[in-house]
Amino acid sequence: MAVEFLLNGKHMSFDGDPDTPLLWVIRDHAGLTGTKYGCGIAQCGACTVHLDGKNRRSCVTPIDTVAGKSVTTIEGVSGPIAEAVQKAWVAIDVPQCGFCQSGQVMSAIGLLAQKPKPTDADIDAGMAGNICRCATYVRIRQAIKDAANAKVSA
């Protein structure tokens, strides 16, 4: 039976193996390649999307478990937090190679949605699953703080 869900607000149907990872469907079937494949085993965070607004590793999300839910990828994420994060990221040039960054951005938005003023400890804990091989961690942390402050002062 086909799995029906929302992908960036649009109806999506997938009729295939229910074990197929959501990441496969996003990239290969929907053609949205902003969400990256890094490890496929929940170790790197590159594939992070939002499932009903919460951070979720799409590489270990069997497609049948998203039936009736709403999936948001880097292409579709929007709203004041997303805008604040985007501006903060651009302002201090967070990315280096960029490969991990859509996952970092999605995780950061998911973190800020729950913790509008995260402490260093909150950022460490919330971003612990997002690896950056270019080690942009210091800028990521700064950008999350800048985004939090921008949102508060806005």
Binding site: Q43, K54, N55, P62, A125, G129
Partner: protein, 208 residues
């Protein structure tokens, strides 16, 4: 000389393990399963019987499937070798993880086989860490028994509720259905529940 005798010892050990291994596999049915409560009926002393039943339950309680999420620290361990959980996760305010990095960020409602090969990420709708008061890692079986009975530590469960918890709770039940790449807890959840019932009915005694 030492350099020569060491490999020889290695060969001997290898031969020994080849001989011993099939024997242990032959008895595997018993080693990997759970004895029913009736197997302890011959122990006349009620206290000793209860203790023996709990010791049998200990095969489940001390399996990696249970212990990994009953850590001493704020982070679980993982796998049959019980290594520190990777990626590094913390329990958060309620045992369901930190904001933005919840258990559910990776652990879904069911086990998720990896898309690129063997193994799986375990899953259950209730996936979370046991509370600090139920830290079992590093405890003896007797100490685990004591905290399991202590309502101030076990989430307020009475002994009767404990029978239900062990025999029917779906997150406990995951231990017997851990997905590819993990050894299940011994026996079945129903057998574990029946042993818990027999243990409570014999006075819920704890091993020393």
């Amino acid at each position: 000389m030492t350099m020569i005798s060491l490999p020889r010892f290695g060969v001997l050990a290898l031969i020994a393990s080849v001989i011993v291994l099939p024997l242990s596999i032959a008895r595997g049915g018993e080693a990997s399963g759970l004895k029913p409560a009736s197997a302890f009926a011959g122990i006349a002393d009620r206290n000793a019987r209860s203790t023996a039943i709990f010791t049998e339950m200990g095969k489940v309680l001390m399996s990696p499937r249970c212990l990994n999420c009953h850590p001493r620290t704020d982070s679980p361990t993982q796998g049959d070798a019980m290594l520190l959980h990777v990626p590094p996760v913390t329990r958060g305010p309620d045992g369901f993880g930190a904001a933005g990095m919840e258990c559910a960020t990776c652990h879904g409602p069911r086990n998720a086989p990896f898309g690129n090969g063997g193994g799986s990420v375990p899953g259950n709708p209730k996936w979370h860490l046991a509370p600090r008061s139920m830290a079992w890692q590093g405890l003896t079986l007797g100490q685990i028994c004591a905290v399991i009975k202590d309502r101030t530590k076990n989430g307020g469960l009475s002994l009767d509720q404990l029978i239900d918890h062990n025999g029917k709770d779906e997150l406990v039940g995951w231990g017997w259905n851990p997905g590819p790449g993990r050894i299940p807890a011994p026996g079945t959840q129903a057998e574990f529940g029946a042993l818990t019932k027999a243990w409570v009915e014999t006075g819920a005694a704890c091993p020393k």
